[in-house]
Assembly symmetry: C2
Homo-oligomer: 722 residues x 2
């Protein structure tokens, strides 16, 4: 059985196929291909102590030959500019224009313009600009046109060809070549520089990312640049994670910019005797995403946590949502899934979500799990599920449903005889970084994620008009959910147990993972929820979580059960704990029981840990969704909920972005203010006294009240928080 | 039931896995990837009247990130050169060497050398050269290493990774970069130049291919270069198939070479008034393949046919076996299949066969037939079958069996409810260029090719140790063959009928295609063969074949039935007919009933026809296999047959190459001489008198004799031809 929310999606999806702007000329390409190409470029920039360190999974490649076309109705013959990345031909109504035309005249009337572009090294792309004839996402593309000609010259039809709508981004000028993409940079200076003979330690004041620039470099010899997220790391020339080695022979002073951007707060520059360097600066590199959400409250530590979380997410939001800026700089599906959710409360930047989903997926054939990790494949499906819920976009699912299908078939083909998935050769069962965590057998957490993935497939199938597929996935999801509870639910422990090994459930081992996901997946009955809360989430005997990654979900589960006060304390302890240790961005892992340089080590290396990890930024999501209390109930915020929960704060205020504008919320213990530019909302709150401010407030019993929120109306309610 | 010959393969394949030379350093890459990349490069050089004309099928792409490794036993520590196309890291025993080392020291002992290379624009490739440590085809490669590291630094195993042996060719020096491949060229001068004011018509004496060079070009204006395989075409500036347009502004005389190579015999150069051009030459571009076969006989016209056929094949043997040099210059599977067979009697160049097979196949997923043509998919399987038979190579099949499987699964999934294949949306059912030829329904010819493809799969499955697959394919082949005869064999007509449309066999339509293939596939009983010969092959009421393409198979079928005398006349008529019309290479199509410029037209265009088409060169094959009479009986010429058939000639002599050296044959009406460097042969001949020359000659009755041929022995037999 699908939840009511899911069923509701089915009825709504038809109305939410947002129209695509067909006015502005932009560079276009085969959908998904630029993302694959750019993902390759980005993920092959990782270095470790001067050595190239590429990903260890299959990287796909773009189609090298693409056919583009669109039929235009041209009122008056017009001049049209043609810009192409690649070797191409251009046809008007099927007749080739000789050579490689840069300008053509489109005659008046209904005419088909088509281009066929070959490009091996980057993605075939076109930019067409006339008055009515422009390149945009309404063009149709294929990687195999199947058009052939017979002996007598007759051209045969293309009935076997699949045409997809073009992909695009923000390359809106002819000079803005997609293959030359470069994120913007801005100059920043060190806030403190400690100079010694032949060395210089620069502190840029906080965690940062960009290209180091040496000013006035002169002399002959070697220069070593040692990057550190901590001063200890920068000073540890033999075990810092990243470095640059230059061989220099400059008679005159010269400025030099490093080729690769790096993450650092501190830079230790060592040069050979006789060499001089005047100063150091950096080109801070960033993604130009717009902040549309915000949060402020009566607790200054929480405000600081929110700000550092925002900065952490910003640093990790680049061409794609990446894991961390120092080390991998790769696109990891589990990490990205959290960034998507944070994004919905800060940037609401759909293009970055889509790019990340596409780069992760790559192309057929599927030969391994995403990032080789079984759970990461499932998060990929969950990410699409959430994207649809928050954005209401159906175009994306319609376009890429076949890639969803083939990935799901890969999963289904790897189920064991019980219909469950366990790690096969080459599969990494990750779950979390947690010492001694067993990955053996049929891990309950993995089955739970598979069930949710199947639900995402069922919804997507409907959107893609695959009714048969929808029924099949619904059935598979329902069967698996029954099996999960029959297998793992331990009535005595009131919890899902961790795994089943050799046919025997691990009754002696309960972990938090499956239990907390079951809560916010809404897979538990009310009494099961309470059982899990008491016996797992609030039970110190169940192994604790030490990564912000899984704390994200743990705290979400507690919030979903109304434990905002408890979670606020946890956030202040955990994220506040990092701040007290001087963090200027949030970490990959934080274990309060460690001390000193122990905090910097990971993976058996002294400075292996990332001190700026996207998954460290989860307060953005928790504060937006569970304190301001704003969340979509149906896709694209057609309907939504605002349920402010102060959780012990005196007041809070903030904005949550939606596809049609922001929802602004203010809440104190005596006043609630909401204004929204989204669909139709429900304000829900608890008040000890009868609230005033709108005649439409309805009591729903038990001191609970609701008010319907209409677009563009400012609501102000006087009430008494409990 | 498989034929005896096929069963015999099964027992032999184990002994024929030729060792690969592991001494010479060479550039290596992921097997199949360079071929895909080079195929893209080659096939995107087609132009039509100055416009780019790319293929209309899916082009695949290489893997951009490859892991290479090999474990070496190094007697004494050695210096090793490292050359890489791409960004890379290098590890010795899993430990990274910093940066991008150009030279390393491999320590003595057993050590693993690994490199991981990223390259988006061309194929990741390495060249490693030390004393014992060299890059060659024994290295292991993967496109996904699935090696991950846990929180504590432990590296997890790679058990899920598939490693393949490296691909290579002849790039044996570090400077010989695979990405910079360029076929050799040699200067050639026109044999006759006709000059007029502002124009020049150069005749290069015969069909040719290369880059036109203008000498002493001076002035300001436009130069048009119009290429012609005939003078008519070169002079027809408005309908010649290929041309170059230059815009020139040269104060001093300059030489200019065209960017793209073209096919031509004649070049018409037109320049604007005031411009001057001293002279024209060309850089003839060719593949450096070695001629190892040969044929000479008492008939001078046949010798001329053989020479022009050789030249035709040479021009079309380039980076790959292509269809024709003027127009497409693409790799077409049906065309290539004939080139493979001719190649076995002229060059025996395995690398060109392998490259062509790999470029045609591309990669998974399969989304359409090879070249979009159903029959061309089947020829791909047939090509592998023949390659194994002639070369005895099992390595190729072992390596690429998965690609054979997925292509066959694509075919099997497209069978109709009767288990037969008919054209679905997007499928081109080609068969042959023949006016009015029906492609409707379940065409018998296509089912026959599918049956043979299934047999090729069965053999390959065994070689690839897929016993289950072998049984399945054998069964499918046997079932289909039964079905073919039950459906199409018309006892009254003693022929296979053309098709079955809407469940009804087309009893009124018999064509040559299925019938002639059934003969040399050995699918017919002796009496069926005779029936087909009389009622189809030698029956003028059955529509005639007008392309050298299908004449190849028609004449092969007749030769296989001992009709060498008839076929000799046909060759003299058909190929001799082209020579009489002035051909210097053989054509795409030749219909003796046409005249004058009609011979030049095709595809509704005045000069659309290719006058140098690989499939025109089939006498090479027919003369080697059915006149000299040399053919392998088991893979790689382990056993073979020499059955000379003069077919009316007074004498003939020639060489046929084999994997271990050539087989030389001389035959006159009174003498037979054979010397062979291959395995164990059988000389078979007919003699009116008792032959002399060897005590080992055995009579097999009916004036037929056999003699076992041992390696390296010169045999000379005196006999009396019938």
């Amino acid at each position: 059985m699908l939840s009511k929310r899911l069923l509701f999606f089915y009825f709504l999806f038809l109305t939410f196929d947002f129209a695509v702007n067909a006015q502005t000329a932009t560079w276009i390409w085969y959908p998904g291909d630029y993302e694959v190409w750019l993902g390759n470029k980005m993920q092959n920039r990782r270095t470790e102590r001067g050595s190239f360190l590429p990903p260890f999974w299959k990287l796909d490649n773009h189609y090298v030959l693409i056919d583009f076309h669109k039929v235009f109705t041209v009122p008056v013959a017009e001049e049209v500019e043609v810009h192409v990345e690649g070797t191409y031909n251009l046809k008007i109504d099927g007749a080739a224009v000789t050579g490689f035309p840069k300008k053509i005249t489109m005659p008046a009337g209904v005419h088909k313009l088509s281009l066929k572009v070959f490009n091996q090294s980057s993605v075939p792309a076109i930019y067409i600009k006339g008055k009515t004839v422009v390149s945009d996402s309404s063009w149709l593309l294929t990687f195999e046109d199947k058009e052939w000609i017979d002996q007598s010259g007759k051209v045969s039809d293309q009935s076997g060809t699949t045409w997809l709508k073009a992909g695009s981004w923000n390359f809106n000028s002819p000079k803005d070549l997609p293959s030359k993409i470069q994120l913007p940079t801005v100059v920043q200076r060190a806030v403190k520089v400690t100079k010694k003979p032949q060395s210089m330690l620069a502190d840029f004041g906080r965690e940062s990312f960009g290209f180091i620039r040496l000013h006035g470099l002169k002399g002959k010899g070697k220069v070593g640049i040692y990057y550190g997220e901590s001063p200890e790391e920068a000073l540890s020339t033999d075990s810092c994670e990243t470095l640059d080695n230059l061989v220099v022979n400059e008679v005159k002073k010269r400025d030099t910019v490093m080729e690769l951007s790096k993450a650092f707060r501190y830079v230790n520059i060592q040069s050979d005797p006789g060499m001089t360097i005047d100063s150091v600066s950096m080109l801070y590199e960033y993604a130009d995403v717009k902040e549309r959400g915000g949060f402020r409250c009566s607790d200054e530590e929480m405000n600081r946590i929110y700000d550092v979380a925002k900065y952490t997410l910003h640093l990790n939001t680049r061409e794609f949502f990446i894991d961390g800026i120092k080390r991998d700089r790769w696109i990891w599906s589990g990490d990205a899934n959290q960034s998507y959710l944070m994004n919905y409360y800060l940037y609401f930047d759909n293009p970055t979500v889509e790019r990340t989903i596409l780069a992760l997926r790559g192309k057929d054939p599927v030969t391994s799990h995403i990032n080789t990790i079984m759970d990461y494949t499932f998060y990929w499906f969950l990410g699409i599920y959430d994207y649809y819920l928050y954005s209401g976009e159906t175009r994306f699912i319609k376009q890429f449903y076949p890639r969803m299908q083939s990935l799901m078939e890969y999963c289904l083909s790897r189920r064991n005889k019980n219909g469950m998935m366990e790690g096969l050769a080459g599969d990494w069962v990750f779950i979390d970084w947690a010492e001694g965590l067993s990955k053996k057998g049929e891990v309950s957490f993995e089955q739970l994620l598979l069930a949710r993935s199947l639900e995402a497939m069922a919804i997507s199938a409907k959107i893609a008009s695959d009714a048969e597929g929808a029924l099949r996935y619904e059935k598979l999801a329902a069967e698996l959910k029954s099996k999960i509870f029959a297998t793992y639910w331990n009535e005595k422990k009131q919890a899902l147990v961790h795994s089943r090994v050799d046919g025997v459930p691990t009754d002696s081992l309960v972990t938090r993972y499956a239990n907390m996901f079951a809560i916010f997946f809404n897979y538990l009955t009310e009494s099961q929820k309470q059982g899990v809360k008491t016996n797992v989430l609030l039970n110190n005997n169940v192994p604790k979580i030490t990564t912000p990654y899984m704390r994200f979900y743990e705290l979400e589960a507690l919030c979903a059960m109304g434990e905002q006060s408890y979670v606020l304390k946890e956030m202040k302890d955990y994220w506040g704990g990092m701040l007290k240790l001087g963090a200027t961005s949030f970490w990959e892992e934080y274990n309060p029981s460690k001390s000193g340089r122990e905090h910097l080590a990971m993976y058996g290396r002294n400075y292996g840990k990332s001190l700026c990890h996207a998954w460290g930024a989860s307060p953005i999501y928790l504060l937006g969704k569970y304190y301001l209390g704003v969340q979509p109930l149906t896709p694209g915020y057609a309907t939504y909920l605002v349920e402010p929960q102060l959780g012990g704060l005196q007041w809070m205020e903030g904005d949550v972005p939606t596809p049609t504008g922001k929802i602004s919320v203010y809440a104190s213990t005596s006043q609630l203010k909401v204004k929204s530019n989204a669909g139709t909302g429900t304000l829900r709150f608890t008040s000890k006294s009868t609230p005033t401010g709108s005649a439409a407030i309805k009591s729903i019993g038990n001191n609970r009240y609701e008010l319907q929120l209409d677009k563009g109306v400012q609501y102000a309610i006087t009430y008494a928080a409990q």
